[in-house]
């Protein structure tokens, strides 16, 4: 039995990937873990007074996205675990893969106007990630 790690941000664009990875985990009998990474680097370009401690706010937001993903898995008949990390997605993905001994990383292609990444950037990202983590990176967007 393997461990599938699925990095997710939430949002409509991620639902097809979540559904596909849930179906895959169910089919293979693998353990499923959703990962959310809190990244505050978007605040680095503004000199606005950012006095609110943003990380706890984003943690709550992330936790909510993970509960949504978990609920999606439950309604489809499997139990998913969740993990939250702080930092950059790539570094945290590699670190969690090694910690859990994950056997597969699942990501989604960019879909629609809400997608967070450009498709070409995502391909490069995935290739680098596969080399760095030593684990297969697979794109899943729909249930085959």
């Amino acid at each position: 039995m393997g461990i599938i790690l699925c990095a997710t941000r939430g949002g409509e664009a991620s639902y097809p990937t979540q559904d596909a990875v849930i179906a895959l985990a169910k089919e293979q009998g693998d353990e499923l873990v959703f990962l959310y990474v809190v990244d505050t680097s978007f605040l680095n370009h503004t000199a606005a007074p950012l006095v609110v401690d943003v990380e706890p706010q984003l943690e709550k937001l992330g936790q909510f996205q993970l509960v949504m993903a978990q609920e999606r898995a439950t309604t489809q008949g499997i139990t998913a675990q969740t993990i939250m990390r702080h930092g950059q997605l790539r570094t945290e993905l590699v670190s969690v893969v090694k910690e859990l001994g994950a056997t597969l990383i699942v990501m989604g292609h960019s879909l629609g106007p809400d997608a967070a990444f450009e498709d070409s950037a995502l391909q490069v990202f995935a290739a680098d990630l596969q080399i760095e983590s030593g684990v297969e990176v697979r794109f899943l967007d729909k249930i085959d």
Binding site: G11, E12, F42, H45, A47, A48, P49, V52, L61
Partner: protein
């Protein structure tokens, strides 16, 4: 490499433009300015472009610009006196220390207040009170954001309200844009209502030495009026999304939402609430105490709260966003260079000629130029640079003694910030927050909502100014 080439092209473009304008102007017999005029203009434009195009952090750009002003003055001016712009001592007189201390005081207070969880609690109460009516929910959260923007500040309001709003939107099954974009637009409108709401308001209000109440009675009515066309436009734009809200919510999501909206520190809330209330009383009654500056009230409130709560001082000072303060100081120095070398007077002369001693035309120009510019370029340096122009025009155009041109500048800079993502800091922060939940808010998508709201509110503001003043 493409990006580097683009930067080089822009810099060369600015240099060519400056040289061209210099050549044209020096052909005129009336021309009286030296090379420092162009150098200070070039420094300002480069900083402006660097900030607006996000070449580097805003603070880094402002600091680099201030350093350039001094280096040219001291090193270049030693060999060629015509290069002297402004010395260190003179440049310090251009820094509005009331603005710096006011922002610092409010930052300390807000950093402590935001740890209480009170705002999330209020947002969740609105969710409960709406009882499944999505229209009430959106209007409630939008009004909460506008009020918080007025009395805390716009960026703080967005950082506190938007994460929970995204979660509420996902719970009720509405696209988060239907909540977040209206909240961002409301924060820029609400920020215009008070002297502490939005940086342009603070800069102009402090420059005029206005008290909290004097500012409020002039700007709050128009900010409230602007909420009417804003809510109508939002109602039209989002009628489908809001009407399609779910009727049954997931218990797991509601439970998570409730957990995220708990008051986290009751004793701190009591203390911060009391100090905040006393600060508000002082803001409102400041004129009775020799016109006590807003900065003194904010700093006193922060000092009392620190002494009462006794937080870890190192952590507290870490919470103060020094980058903001350095950014403001840098911008004041760069604009001081423009004033010292005559650039401001020259620009004001051109605008004065356009207005032709007609206060109505001048007022319209002072609303719409900053209003349009704020959507394209950063509104803080723009406001600092436009302020001496407003001074000049107020002194030279009859009928401007009632400060109408300053009110026009505030409204233009604040409301104009709604037209694009780049228009103001809350917009940029909200885009990042949405990205964290997997929603990409593009430039065009923001403009779909921002532009009509900006046009409607600027038209209303113009009518208001022409009738009221």
């Amino acid at each position: 490499m493409k990006r580097k080439g683009f930067y080089i092209l822009v810099i060369l473009g600015i240099i060519c433009l400056s040289v061209g304008i210099w050549w044209l102007l020096t052909q005129s017999a009336e021309w009286q300015y030296g090379p420092s005029f162009f150098i200070s203009t070039g420094i300002f434009l480069l900083v402006f472009v660097a900030i607006s195009l996000r070449w580097m952090h805003e603070t880094a750009a402002a600091l680099l610009g201030a350093a350039a002003v001094w280096l040219v003055h001291y090193i270049g001016g030693t060999f060629f006196p015509a290069l002297q712009i402004i010395n260190f001592e003179e440049s310090m007189t251009f820094v509005d220390w009331n603005v710096i201390w006011l922002i610092m005081g409010m930052m300390i207070f807000m950093a402590m207040f935001s740890e209480t969880g009170a705002i999330n609690w209020i947002a969740f109460r609105i969710f409960r009170l709406a009882k499944g009516n999505a229209w009430l929910l959106v209007i409630g959260l939008v009004i909460l954001t506008a009020v918080l923007s007025a009395f805390l500040n716009d960026v703080t309001a967005i950082l506190l309200v938007v994460p929970l709003s995204i979660q509420i939107a996902q719970t009720v099954g509405i696209h988060p844009f239907a909540f977040v974009i209206p909240e961002v637009l409301a924060s820029n409108i609400g920020g215009a209502a008070t002297i502490i709401g939005d940086p342009p308001s603070t800069i102009v209000g402090s420059h005029l030495g206005l008290g909290f109440v004097e500012y409020l009675v002039n700007m709050a009515p128009i900010a409230i009026l602007c909420m009417i066309p804003f809510l109508i436009i939002i109602g039209i734009l989002y009628r489908r999304e809001i009407s399609g809200a779910k009727e049954q919510y997931s218990p797991a999501l509601v439970s998570q939402l409730e957990n995220d909206a708990l008051i986290t520190d009751f004793p701190l809330l009591r203390k911060a609430g009391l100090v905040g209330f006393l600060m508000m009383i002082l803001f409102f009654t400041g004129d009775m105490f020799g016109g006590i500056p807003s900065s003194v009230i904010a700093l006193s409130g922060a000092a009392i709260l620190i002494a009462w709560v006794r937080p870890d001082m190192h952590r507290m000072l870490h919470e103060v966003n020094w980058t903001t303060l350095i950014f403001f100081i840098g911008i004041f120095i760069i604009v001081g260079g423009l004033e010292a070398t005559g650039v401001i007077a020259w620009t004001a002369g051109i605008i004065g000629n356009l207005a032709g001693d007609n206060i109505k035309i001048a007022s319209v120009l002072m609303v719409w130029i900053p209003g349009v510019a704020s959507g394209i370029v950063a509104n803080i340096p723009f406001t600092v640079a436009a302020l001496p122009i407003a001074d000049f025009l107020t002194a030279t155009i009859s009928g401007a003694e009632n400060l109408v041109l300053y009110w026009a500048l505030i409204l233009g800079a604040d409301l104009g910030g709604n037209s694009t993502i780049l228009g103001s800091a809350p917009n940029i922060v909200a885009v990042g927050l949405l990205g964290q939940a997997g929603y990409r808010l593009t430039f065009g998508r923001f403009m779909r909502d921002g532009v009509p709201v900006t046009i409607a509110t600027l038209i209303l503001a113009t009518i208001w100014l022409l009738i009221r003043y």
